[in-house]
């Protein structure tokens, strides 16, 4: 019978087990227990996080679908909607980097096309340990290759993303994958069975023994036995998924089906319970009819397999043949494995015997929600006393070291392995703060970005959460786009630790406050807990995926300088804030202090100034200082410009030179304008109470910073660019090869 050992293996508490017995009305058998174990796992049930996630704003006039479905949906006008979501694949990617990352891409793609949308863009937020360690290089190489293999083959461009490096991610890398799809508003599909009597069809790949208990695995800490979990990771087949994508979109386009759900975490279990639960129905299936890749699979293996590239479809019985014909065109099976019932139960037969008989609502809706104890994080650290850090003697050398640090260095080595142009919508190449896609047949554009700084959130969770939202919106403002919706991926340690739960609560509240200020709805996302290995938790790492809309593609602005002799204007102000900066980390070896402060009203005013200036055509380039501060920001503008246009910036005193150059003060945007437009830009800033000043001009072949006329930095632009370009490729050099510059 069920003993404590079995329960522990299923990651269920005795109290949860007692509740299961009450809900089922008897002791569950092992297959049934497996079903509850998967669906009540943290990964599927959000049992620790839901109480806090409720604080996020989710409504808005353009929200077609908020949290609770496979992905969120926002109306973008002209009869079109965007469908988007971000999801983590951290645990599988640590165990098996290539397949873990590849199936992360496969899974998020299914979440999008299961709703009737054609996926048009992917982005990734990645966290690795320092590249000096060969094991971290091997993980990064595998993750990038996995994303590349899946996304490239299926033909969805990976148009951007972000990557940070830090020791805390050495034993727990993060792989968060974002996908956005485009659909006609009248062709959205949901995970529903609708009426009793409807047919239940299994489509796509056959079921094998891979990924069994994957959802439970993702809901536990890792210890020394990580290697033994390799078989829990699934194997991806992007070709099969491409066929599935085309076939699914075809049956949806022809309105042949009534509902559809992908089989991701918890596989057949999840789809056969969630779909009927949402329609207040039940489902009866014959497990013997499920296409199987290997002989002798048991009912619980079939129910809990996380084999990839599978979907469950509900359709009217008279449509079954048409659906099957559509799948046959793409050489895919569509097998009727059961039917929708009116009794609200999931009933599975296997060789004539009933092996599962449980109420679907118990599985889907009645998992206990936890109000886990939390400890408020230590009082936010005091602003760093800048005087503690010795001033660098060599400013040129300091900038060079920052440009060569992995977090700041150019990521072309990564994104050139991704097909970022397929589907011919990519209007701005990767490498900037935000990705920009045109919409065929429209003058509108879509802008999207991922952002999140784990170190900030570690030092001050609430501020870290707010900054993630503010900075993502700022990235959109630099292009000229307003945000329309948010998805988030919240990566944390073990929620059973009160300090982790405290971080979670603070971060969510910070995100919530910032989203309310910007009036943007959170339409869904993903929580990844248990990012702990050998007892060490990662930094709390919220990753925000924000989607924005450009009314006129022709007005989109890029970060690169455009011509010599243009004015460089700083919107916002630099403050004495070195805490949590990349400068402190790289140059002084310290991860400490308070992260930069954030005044949401000021942030909004700065962004509005930028948006209006872009709208009026006054801005030639725009980029926001983030890691590495103003110095790195200006250098990047030079690197992104044609032919390496340099600049001369003269800083005004009031702070130490390292603060002026490298502080990561928020609510700043560096723009360039033609000389004749300077006054107009400054006026726009003044109207909103935003400090703004001309701090230099573009031109020359050097990156020059001076402090009240005295030279601090004078570095040939070409040399600086080479350092920035080559830093990451150097770690991956094949002996005898030279890396190509751009």
């Amino acid at each position: 019978m069920i003993d404590p050992n079995i329960l522990s293996r299923h990651n269920l508490t005795p109290e949860e087990y007692d509740l299961i017995v009450r809900l089922v009305g008897r002791e569950p058998n092992l297959t049934e227990l497996g079903i509850f174990s998967a669906m009540w796992s943290e990964h599927c049930s959000y049992k620790s996080s839901k109480i806090h996630l409720k604080k996020l704003p989710t409504g808005g006039k353009n929200v077609v679908q908020g949290p609770g479905e496979n992905a969120g949906i926002i109306d973008i006008g002209d009869g079109r909607v965007v469908v988007f979501k971000i999801e983590s694949h951290n645990h599988p990617s640590f165990i098996e980097p290539f397949q873990g990352a590849a199936t992360g891409v496969g899974g998020i793609l299914r979440d999008i096309f299961t709703m009737g949308a054609r996926p048009i863009a992917l982005m990734d937020s990645l966290r690795f340990g320092p590249l000096e360690n060969p094991r971290n290089r091997s993980i990064m190489d595998g993750v990038v290759a996995g994303i590349s293999a899946y996304g490239n083959a299926i033909g969805v461009p990976t148009v951007g993303g972000e990557v940070y490096f830090g020791e805390v991610y050495s034993l727990n890398p993060l792989v968060n994958v974002f996908c956005l799809g485009l659909a006609d508003k009248d062709k959205i599909f949901y995970a529903r069975t609708e009426d009793a009597g409807n047919a239940v069809l299994y489509v796509g790949a056959k079921t094998g023994r891979d990924g069994i208990h994957g959802a439970s695995m993702a809901s536990q800490e890792f210890g020394e036995d990580t290697e033994t979990k390799r078989p829990n990771v699934q194997v991806g087949d992007p070709f099969k998924e491409k066929l599935l994508l085309e076939a699914c979109l075809e049956v949806m386009d022809r309105h042949l089906i009534v509902g559809i759900q992908d089989m991701g975490a918890a596989g057949l279990t999840c789809s056969t319970t969630e779909m009927p639960a949402k329609s207040g129905r039940g489902v009866e299936i014959d497990l013997g009819l499920v296409p199987q890749r290997e002989a002798g699979m048991t009912p619980d293996e079939i129910m809990l397999s996380e084999s990839q590239e599978r979907m469950l479809i509900a359709c009217k019985p008279e449509r079954v043949e048409e659906v099957q014909a559509a799948f046959a065109k793409w050489d895919l099976d569509a097998v009727a494995i059961g039917r929708v019932t009116g009794d609200g139960r999931l009933r599975c037969r296997f060789h004539g015997e009933i092996v599962v008989d449980v109420p679907v609502s118990a599985v889907v809706d009645l998992c206990p929600m936890y109000k886990r104890p939390y400890e408020a994080p230590e009082a936010a650290p005091r602003p760093t006393e800048t005087g503690r850090y010795p001033l660098p003697a060599d400013w040129n050398g300091t900038l060079k070291r920052l440009l060569a640090s992995s977090t700041i260095a150019e990521k072309e080595w990564i994104y050139r392995q991704y097909d970022h142009m397929v589907q011919t919508n990519t209007a701005h190449l990767p490498g900037a703060g935000a990705a920009v896609l045109r919409i065929k047949g429209s003058s509108k554009g879509l802008v999207m970005t991922l952002d999140g700084n784990g170190l900030y959130a570690h030092l001050d969770p609430r501020t870290g959460g707010m900054i993630a939202v503010a900075e993502a919106c700022r990235n959109l403002a630099c292009v000229g786009a307003r945000p329309v919706g948010v998805t988030n991926c919240l990566n944390f340690g073990n929620p059973e630790k009160p300090e982790v739960m405290g971080q979670f609560k603070e971060v969510v509240e910070g995100i919530s406050e910032a989203c309310r200020t910007f009036e943007i709805p959170v339409t869904g996302g993903n929580v990844s807990f248990y990012n702990d290995t050998e007892g060490v938790s990662i930094y709390p790492t919220p990753v925000l995926g924000i989607v924005g809309l450009l009314d006129d593609m022709a007005k989109a602005v890029t970060p690169g300088f455009k011509a010599e002799g243009e004015a460089i204007i700083l919107l916002g102000e630099t403050r004495d804030e070195l805490g949590g900066t990349e400068y402190l980390k790289v140059i002084h070896g310290r991860e400490e202090g308070a992260p930069p402060g954030l005044d949401l009203e000021r942030e909004r005013a700065v962004q509005e100034t930028c948006l209006e200036a872009v709208g009026l055509g006054l801005v030639r380039s725009a980029h926001d200082p983030s890691e590495g501060g103003l110095a790195v920001c200006a250098a990047e503008c030079a690197f992104h410009g044609p032919g390496g246009i340099g600049f001369a910036i003269d800083l005004q005193g009031g702070h130490r030179p390292d603060v002026l150059l490298f502080a990561e003060s928020q609510s700043r945007i560096l723009v360039t304008s033609k000389q004749e437009d300077i006054a107009k830009v400054l006026d726009l800033a003044k109207e909103r109470g935003v400090p703004a000043a001309v701090i230099g001009r573009t031109g020359g072949a050097s990156l020059k910073f001076s402090l009240e006329g005295r030279t601090l930095i004078d570095l040939p632009a070409a040399e600086a660019k080479t350092i920035w370009m080559n830093a990451i490729p150097e770690y991956f050099k094949i002996s005898g090869e030279t890396e190509n510059g751009r």
Binding site: N152, K242, D331, Q417, D419, V422, T424, L429, I734, N740
Partner: protein, 230 residues
């Protein structure tokens, strides 16, 4: 004048190519299903980029057995115009309509980026709208684009002007660095002996609109229009 774009399972530049031909070049374009036996009256057949059959075997190795390839082969043998782009080029090599083979890129990584290629022969039906020595900016996106052929084949295609494009630097010079995938003789595109079949690794359909960063790819499609009209 009509184009036909073949769709194999796993093609993923099919829509892009159809979009460029219909919306940018403005010509009727048929979608040709690989299981059919009908070219639907196309004057030029395009094999698009992608990962036909997942490219789990050699790139293009399975697609050559698609039913429609019988018609494509006959069409080419009769002098019909056939353009293979990226995976389409790989299929043409597997079909034997073009000589040689593709190896993995020299860096052993998938490579997606803009490159510059030099028009080596402006007398072909695929380049007559350009001029010899012209430098075109187009994207590549492939893992297996490192062209290989034995010395006799290379000598033959060199001597007969069958090399259409070579990877070059932005000023048109041939350098090791500009030859991004390590192709022999920096070959980025070549024709058959008769000059009616061309394969190229760069994607002209991704370089046909200013909003995508280049319109140089239109030269290939516009050359085809001229060739068919004459």
């Amino acid at each position: 004048m009509k184009f036909g774009v073949v769709v194999f399972p796993g093609s993923n530049c099919d829509f892009d190519t159809v979009h460029a031909l219909r919306e940018v070049i403005g010509r009727p374009t048929e979608i040709l299903w690989h299981k059919d036996h009908d070219l639907r009256g196309a004057d030029c057949v395009v094999l698009p980029g992608g990962f036909s059959y997942g490219d789990y075997l050699r790139s293009g190795a399975i697609a050559r057995f698609s039913p429609l390839m019988q018609e494509v082969r006959e069409f080419a043998e009769k002098g019909g115009l056939v353009l293979g782009i990226c995976n389409g080029f790989q299929v043409l090599l597997e079909l034997g309509l073009l000589p040689g083979a593709m190896l993995r890129n020299k860096g052993l990584k998938f490579l997606c980026r803009f490159v510059t290629v030099r028009v080596e022969n402006a007398g072909t039906r695929f380049t007559n709208a350009g001029r010899k020595g012209q430098v075109l900016r187009m994207p590549i996106a492939h893992f297996d684009g490192n062209y290989y052929a034995d010395p006799a084949v290379l000598e033959d295609i060199e001597r007969n002007g069958r090399i259409v494009f070579r990877y070059c630097d932005p000023d048109g010079r041939l350098t090791d660095e500009a030859n991004v995938n390590g192709s022999l003789h920096a070959i980025a595109g070549l024709t058959n002996a008769r000059g009616n079949v061309m394969g190229m690794m760069p994607h002209p359909e991704r370089a046909s609109e200013a909003i995508l960063g280049s319109t140089d790819g239109r030269i290939v499609f516009e050359s085809l229009l001229r060739a068919i009209a004459s």
